[in-house]
Symmetry: C2
Subunit: 646 residues, 2 copies
């Protein structure tokens, strides 16, 4: 009877336990422990496995297609869009390959670099398109090697458009997408997941629909893992195509490409490029409203929603691929109406994870970069292994220097004029700097009526969690304790808590209270006297730009400040205050005064000199209250300090 119940222990471990003699000392040599916490299966599976798992679970998904931007500013905006649309929970995004735009180069607008940024800095599973015609094998191999090096794991293998009017086969080159698929498999074995294109109406250049289906089958049999289709206008088109594919033995996933009509001109252009015909019933609706963008978009959304519903209801479709044209509104609207948009994104960890395969196991980071995760990823990109389970005694964390403040994915979203409005066209003294910090905290407009929505250390408005501390933060910033990072103490809130929760449900999350700020040496001297009273309770690190460092941390050990306890899992402690990393963060934190703020002003101008003075003379302080079950004592520490100063 009992044997008939759930047997969820894997066969391999049962057999190991049956044949006990095989577990002797001999085999202990290959006792290589993987300390990977499988907190989030998404981080550990390849794309085709994620698809399979989602399909098996009956869990519908979506993906988003983007093209590389033309300008550096557009790149900054696209990355913000990745962050926002990534929150909706796409299974992957893909980035098209623009042969004219030097797609494999290191330019910030290249396909390669945009895909790299999506994977590494935005944490998105990403497919990089790649075309093969008019390129040498060596070029292609070079691109693939570079993609692999950057952590890209998925390629959409395409032929690409011919250069001239007529298509001519090249003798030694790649002539068809199938050649590229074969090349990837022969040169990179099973490393990449490969996607190929399917044409529900047949490729415009194919001899026939049937011939095109046979080409598709060749691509799949050459090693493609799944198919994304060209856009189409009727669900029947796709469903027939899918049945025809299955009939000739194509069994891999086939994902319909959805194109929400967003405007008259974009539709016309796309139709021209793809050589598709727009059905008469759609033309009939659009023509009369062609100058009314909003009306067309509404119609497009309506049309897409009903077509997607038909596809999903067919039971044959498990995922939907959206041609976004780099726009947010229409696609997001369609997804929300379909119920596919993730309205309550659960964070697997308190910080945004990177999708680079070598960072799969990473689950601990210093708290200092909490608001600058992309900078953290950049400064640790050369690491070969990443801390997990523990940060450890990082006697040599070897952070890369941050000199490249111009890098588009590290840039402020706001242009210089806006920053000046927020942070002051002209500063009159340290107090005007206190005011900027205070306005950022309160959300109130500054004396010129502008809201301060970002700071050099934080490109976004105050986090919801920090809002819990708003009143106290306002008070201390007014008096020159210039806070740049903080968290409240949490003594076991459910992991599903909308503000401080993270990780799987059913768990409990904890935090030690943390406060990080710049302050004058006068404040710091008083603070040090006050801290003597809190010697065992509060750990502190205090450093100035020259690296003079004062701390009571034992043996330079890290202090865990965020951790979670989950059912059936080991403890996860994703955030630490690491004394050694703090000295690297210090360089960046001080440099931001100059790079982001002082440089807004003319050299030698009074405003610039005020920022320079703060940079040269203030201290960067962090405080941790170790007694997380008690009321946060850090506000008392600060109050005591002000009292001593009076």
């Amino acid at each position: 009877m009992v044997n008939e119940t759930q047997q969820s222990c894997s066969a391999s471990s049962s057999s190991r336990s049956d044949g006990g003699s095989s577990s002797g000392s001999e085999s202990s040599k290959d006792n290589s422990r993987c300390s990977t916490p499988v907190l989030d299966a998404d981080r550990h599976e390849r794309l085709r496995e994620k698809m399979r798992r989602r399909q098996e679970a009956g869990d519908k998904w979506f993906s988003l297609e983007f093209f590389p931007p033309r300008t550096a500013n557009a790149a900054v905006n696209l990355i913000s869009r990745f962050d926002r649309m990534g929150a909706g929970g796409p299974l992957f995004i893909d980035v098209t390959w623009h042969p004219a735009g030097d797609p494999g180069s290191d330019k910030e607008t290249s396909s390669m670099i945009i895909a790299n940024t999506a994977v590494n800095y935005c944490g998105l599973e990403t497919i990089l398109h790649m075309t093969c015609c008019n390129q040498t094998k060596d070029d292609i191999t070079g691109h693939l090697q570079k993609a692999k090096r950057l952590g890209l794991k998925n390629i959409m293998a395409l032929r690409g458009d011919p250069v001239g009017e007529e298509w001519e086969e090249e003798v030694d080159g790649f002539n068809y997408a199938v050649d590229l698929v074969k090349h990837i498999r022969s040169e990179f074995d099973d490393y990449f997941d490969i996607c190929v294109a399917g044409y529900p109406k047949g490729h415009p250049e194919a001899e026939s629909y049937e011939a095109d289906l046979r080409h598709l089958k060749e691509k799949v049999f050459a090693g493609a893992d799944f198919i994304i289709t060209q856009l189409f206008f009727r669900s029947e088109t796709f469903l027939k195509f899918m049945k025809d594919c299955q009939a000739i033995g194509i069994t891999c996933p086939i994902i319909p490409g959805i194109f929400p009509i967003q405007g008259y001109h974009s539709l016309r252009q796309l139709v021209k490029l793809s050589k598709l015909e727009v059905p008469q019933e759609i033309k009939d609706v659009i023509e009369p409203i062609k100058d009314n963008d909003a009306a067309i978009r509404n119609y497009g959304v309506e049309l897409a929603v009903s077509m997607c519903r038909e596809l999903l209801d067919s039971g044959m479709v498990h995922g939907l691929h959206f041609y976004t044209l780099n726009r947010e509104v229409a696609t997001t609207e369609v997804l929300k109406r379909l119920g596919l948009w993730n309205e309550d994104p659960r964070r697997p960890l308190p910080w945004a994870v990177s999708a680079h395969p070598k960072r799969r196991v990473e689950d601990v980071r210093p708290i200092f970069w909490a608001s600058r995760p992309k900078s953290y990823i950049y400064r640790t990109q050369e690491w070969d292994d990443f801390p997990n389970g523990r940060w450890g005694n990082s006697s040599s964390p070897a952070f890369g220097e941050l000199r490249d403040y111009y890098l588009f994915y590290l840039k402020s979203k706001s242009p210089r004029e806006e920053l000046l409005k927020m942070w002051g066209e002209e500063l009159t003294g340290e107090e005007s700097v206190f005011e900027v910090f205070t306005c950022y905290i309160t959300g109130e407009p500054n004396r010129n009526g502008h809201k301060v929505t970002c700071m050099p250390w934080n490109d976004d408005p105050l986090a919801t969690e920090t809002n819990l501390l708003k009143d106290q933060l306002e008070k201390v910033n007014r008096r020159g304790i210039l806070t740049i990072n903080s968290q409240p103490n949490i003594n076991g809130k459910p992991s599903t808590d909308p503000i401080v929760g993270w990780g799987p449900s059913g768990g409990y999350v904890f935090q030690k209270a943390y406060l990080e700020f710049f302050a004058s040496s006068e404040i710091v001297m008083a603070l040090l006297k006050v801290l003597k009273k809190y010697e065992l309770r509060v750990n502190y690190h205090i450093v100035n730009v020259k690296g003079q460092n004062i701390t009571n941390a034992p043996d330079l050990q890290p202090n865990a400040v965020t951790w979670g306890i989950f059912p059936g899992r080991e403890i996860i402690q994703p955030t630490v205050v690491d004394p050694v990393s703090f000295l690297y963060w210090k360089d960046e934190a001080f440099a931001l005064w100059i790079e982001q703020w002082a440089k807004l002003y003319e050299e030698e101008s009074p405003s610039r000199m005020i920022i320079q003075y703060i940079h040269d003379n203030y201290y960067l302080v962090n405080l941790v209250d170790n007694d997380f079950p008690l009321e946060n004592c850090l506000w008392q520490v600060v109050d005591d300090t002000f009292e001593l100063l009076n």
Copy 2:
């Protein structure tokens, strides 16, 4: 001003931060993260460093000398004594070298194996004595290699006693301890800490006191790290010797050897061997009471205490070395009266750590071996690395087989006759087994008037912590839920809590409730139905001797059931329920029924068949309540199970 305050950040990290350019991507290659939590510096320092640190901190210490036992039974007792006396907190113990007892062999009574057991199984810092006369270099090297392989790190280098009456120099052999010191340093570099003997009255064979001091200096200059002296009867003797040593340039620690007189005969024998003269004033006291052991011991304790006080008060002595003669009472009494005995041993981790250098970083173990730590160490002795920070996905933990139930350090302390009295001369059915379990829990005598002080799975009486659960445990054992391991849930008690505390002070410890038991398949079937109601809250593993395994653990991941949060440190999680290890523990847990219990009875006897029946048909069950902040639900689970059965 601030620069004059505490600068506790090490110079190296300051300079690293100053010369920021050296921290670029080049150096990240040697980014080898040490995940060692320095929870307990004692585990990470070599003996001479511990001495130095204790001396610098003004922290007095003691050490204990033992000789190897003559019989296997005596070895079992000596290991229990190591465990008990180890709790008093010796800085180290040492084990003498008995040339006549095949000291380097694998016999359970050899010096080598006793030292090995002290280090690896009792977790004691240990010095192994080694003599060199009448041995070849190869023999000596062989012994040293073996010692190193076993994890011994300290050698007391001695000449040894001559074989005949007269001492004769061997041409190619070792003639003096200094030869052995040189040999160790030349063959093993700085691996071992080396101790040598000092003679406060001069070596009996030395030409003179001064000549002997010069020999001692030679030994130190050849590489010895510290000196332990021969016993003496007056503190002045030692203090003069120490000054004389310092006068000729001996600066290493010199530890006085203390011999509490414990009996007339042992004193006479020792004096004869060491060729020392007992001062007249001592003889005068002892002779009249020579047949009264208790009186002599009391006097010996008195004498030792006052001499030790004089030594400590001199300010020249930081540690005391006790010649225990393998006895507990007198030495313990002296140490308690001196205030050196650790009355409140703080546990660095919830389980006893091993002192083998390769286990230094180990800080996670499966909970199953909580009462059988020596068996756990034995079964993992071939591992090359030990889990720390996380247990990890131990898909191949490769535990060694436990076939060697006869090994003296795994043996029950109780002989067969005692076990029969406790567990029943004759069993009449499964209920008589339930009774044995119940008596062990309650501490009440069984129906024949014998207390059950140990069980096959637990060689000691119920742990204080388990006592917290006594009432519930009694109730369930009576009804056939035969518990072998359990812990209550703890939601943040101070780390100094006398019952459940561990680790440094100022921290908080946590536990998930745990219950492990054997039960019939009838009970297990009902239990499984009940567990459906607790699906997300309770993790379970249920297995029978054949390895049929039922669990709801996700992906065979370990579940942390003990963890601690400390000031300025990362999270420590020393105990997990690991599904894979459970299948290895299962073999041992079931085998103990047969090896320790069934085999007490004649083959084919009804008693033996009852145990065999349980072994063949019962299931081993473990339950974890993940909701540690709520009231433990496992008792409700068991109650529901019994209710369902009724």
